[in-house]
Symmetry: C2
């Protein structure tokens, strides 16, 4: 079919997702956030809203095809919304998720200095 190109379905809690048939919300989340640029897009929206092109630039020039896929999935899952002339931004529940991601950014600083990060 492919109305346009590819109509990949965004992972939605309550339905089976890639890698899990259980339908547990956490599995849908792990699938959604495990896609390339998904976490980064959310991260770059943590502050103010951004237009498509501003978001693309913030994500180090990610290709618009992929960005559009991620943004659509994040909108379908309700984490991101669009406003007329306002660009993209986090929805209320999306902002809740980011609130949990913030301490992880702080953790990553400790991680960077961690001695357990040995290479081999």
């Amino acid at each position: 079919m492919a109305a346009t190109r590819k109509s990949r379905t965004a992972p939605v809690p309550g339905k089976p997702v890639r890698g899990s048939r259980s339908g547990r919300p956490v599995m849908a989340l792990l699938d959604l956030l495990g896609r390339r640029w998904a976490l980064r897009v959310l991260w770059e929206l943590r502050g103010e809203r951004r237009t498509f092109r501003a978001l693309q630039e913030a994500c180090d020039g990610v290709s618009p095809a992929v960005l559009n896929d991620r943004v659509r999935e994040l909108r379908e899952s309700g984490l991101v919304d669009v406003g007329e002339g306002e660009g993209y931004g986090l929805s209320p529940i999306g902002r809740e998720l980011l609130a949990h991601l913030a301490p992880i950014a702080a953790w990553s600083e400790r991680w960077a200095a961690s001695p357990s990060r040995r290479r081999r």
Copy 2:
């Protein structure tokens, strides 16, 4: 000699990673966790340690090639360790990360029931 196959390099804080040249730890983390199965592997190790095959089964039969890649990356970044005859498990700092991921699982339950997941 790491691998006969292409040994992809794990993202390491302090060095440029895919999609970001800044070297900021949070970018390395977003790259590391944005790879397929990475979050899921950490999630399945949140409890007790698991052997390679047990971990594979827990992840709905992910292919061993990918699992080995993820596990190697997670080990190189110090989040996961291996014990002789003990299988894979979280390192101390890895357990710190999971502590932050736990409330996100609780959040996902609220997300699943969220009405904002229906609009647009």
